[in-house]
């Protein structure tokens, strides 16, 4: 298998109560690649993303992370998840911890980093996203955009090899979308491997190495952003792009 493939999804299926949401999806994510997944709501794109770190357990198919089948029975999924950062639509910061603690609890408890070191690294990340002055604040004191930027750096604290973004800007007020996308763009520039489920076509066009179109649980088309947006082949993709662009 190709060295540079970080995640490989193979025939991933998922049903909820007999309803098929994913109907056998194959996708490879290479190291350093930014893959953006788009599709109409209910197309299964979030479910697929959540299958990649097994927040949803696929009902069929396999997910390989660094060549290991993490859908296998004896896999220590918690260990793999440490290397797969995830950012949620609704931020999911821990409201009972201040920002710094939100960021350091993972490295401290799981990576066994001494507290001072974890805090130093967290502060450096906060500095980068311009939120160092909020280290002592609690999540409820932050705006949505700030919360999402914190959620991103919280995931980065674990030094993940891939970052999964589940509609990271969908719950934000329009004027806050930009600041979050900027952090993601900076990450992409540093060659972080990213899988992004989003409705932000501009981001897909500008940042993605590859854009994937999912509809009705099927991967309909994947291509470079130029081809994807400039010369779509699938009819459903054409009509979808016609509606959103």
């Amino acid at each position: 298998m190709n060295d540079s493939v970080l995640i490989r999804a193979e025939g991933v299926c998922k049903s909820f109560d007999g309803k098929e949401v994913l109907k056998g999806i194959d996708l490879e994510i290479r190291r350093g690649e930014v893959v953006v997944i788009i599709g109409p709501s209910g197309s299964g794109k979030s479910t697929f993303l959540r299958c990649l770190n097994l927040l949803e357990v696929p009902t069929g198919g396999h997910i390989y992370f660094k060549d290991e089948d993490i859908t296998g029975k004896r896999v220590d999924i918690d260990h793999h998840r440490q290397k797969m950062g995830m950012v949620f639509q609704h931020f999911n910061l821990f409201p009972h911890m201040n920002i710094l603690r939100n960021m350091t609890i993972g490295p401290e408890k799981l990576l066994k980093l001494p507290r001072e070191e974890a805090e130093k690294e967290a502060m450096a990340l906060l500095e980068r996203v311009g939120l160092a002055d909020r280290a002592d604040s609690y999540p409820s004191q932050l705006s949505g955009g700030q919360k999402q930027r914190i959620a991103i750096v919280r995931a980065l604290c674990m030094k993940p090899e891939v970052m999964l973004f589940d509609e990271p800007t969908s719950a934000l007020d329009p004027e806050m979308v930009g600041e979050v996308l900027q952090v993601m763009k900076d990450l992409a520039k540093e060659h972080m491997t990213m899988v992004v489920v989003t409705h932000e076509m501009g981001f897909a066009r500008e940042v993605a190495d590859r854009v994937v179109f999912l509809d009705d649980g099927v991967l309909m088309e994947q291509n470079s952003p130029e081809e994807f947006f400039g010369n779509p082949k699938n009819d459903r993709l054409k009509s979808f792009l016609g509606k959103v662009l």
């Binding site: 949620f88 999911n92 821990f94 799981l110 409820s140 674990m158």
Partner: protein, 228 residues
């Protein structure tokens, strides 16, 4: 008879106040240990039930827990107390305080379990997912992320359960355990004066409940401060 004479007759003469004092000690001992037992049982049951609800694990344990909850909440505590004393320990010589602690603790556990479960389930599923996505296992996520938040939410209900338990122990007299209520009642049977001993007993319960209510609301405020 004047007030002073009533007071003398009911509380001073023959050191009758000791019935109240010793009864109070029994009531507090039973309440304290029954609360601890209740919280321990309730916590375990709540973890089993909520884990089952969220992940589908612990099927058999959940079934046992449900039977426990149904039976305990479906029968009066005084009947449970008598069954434990006269049936289960019927042929053994056992300290009645221990019997009362067991009965009230097991009873309270059922209510605490449902309080805790509601608290755990009230925490958004996103918190669990965020914890798991960082790499915490289910237990760590519960311990570091879910339970601290749940505890804050259930503190008022837990305080209320303690108050209920404190007052419920007043049926301890059914197994001839001399708690606060029984102490007052013994005085009444000696002096044929119902008013003074019973009002005194009522006042003592009231003061304890008010003091505890105050304590809980202070603790609640302190916990809220850390979050805002």
């Amino acid at each position: 008879m004047s007030f002073q004479e009533h007071f003398y007759l009911n509380f001073i003469k023959d050191n009758r106040w000791l019935y109240i004092w010793d009864g109070l000690k029994v009531t507090l001992t039973v309440t304290l240990f029954a609360t601890l037992l209740g919280i321990a049982i309730g916590f375990v049951i709540a973890i089993i039930r909520s884990t089952h609800d969220r992940t589908g694990r612990f099927k058999a344990l959940n079934f046992v827990a449900q039977i426990y909850l149904t039976v305990i909440r479906g029968t009066p505590v005084v009947v449970q107390l008598m069954i434990i004393y006269f049936v289960i320990f019927g042929s053994v010589d056992i300290n009645k305080v221990i019997v009362a602690v067991l009965a009230f603790g097991i009873n309270s556990g059922a209510y605490v379990a449902e309080i805790c479960r509601a608290g755990i389930m009230s925490i958004d599923i996103g918190q669990l997912e965020a914890g798991r996505s960082i790499g915490f296992n289910y237990g760590q996520t519960m311990w570091y992320i879910i339970l601290p938040q749940a505890f804050k939410n259930i503190l008022p209900a837990l305080g209320n359960e303690f108050i209920v338990l404190l007052k419920e122990t007043s049926v301890s007299g059914y197994i001839a355990l001399q708690d606060l209520t029984k102490g007052g009642d013994i005085i009444r049977s000696r002096t044929y004066d119902a008013f003074f001993p019973l009002i005194a007993v009522a006042l003592i319960y009231l003061i304890m409940v008010m003091a505890f209510t105050k304590l809980v609301s202070m603790l609640e405020r302190r916990l809220k401060q850390s979050e805002r």
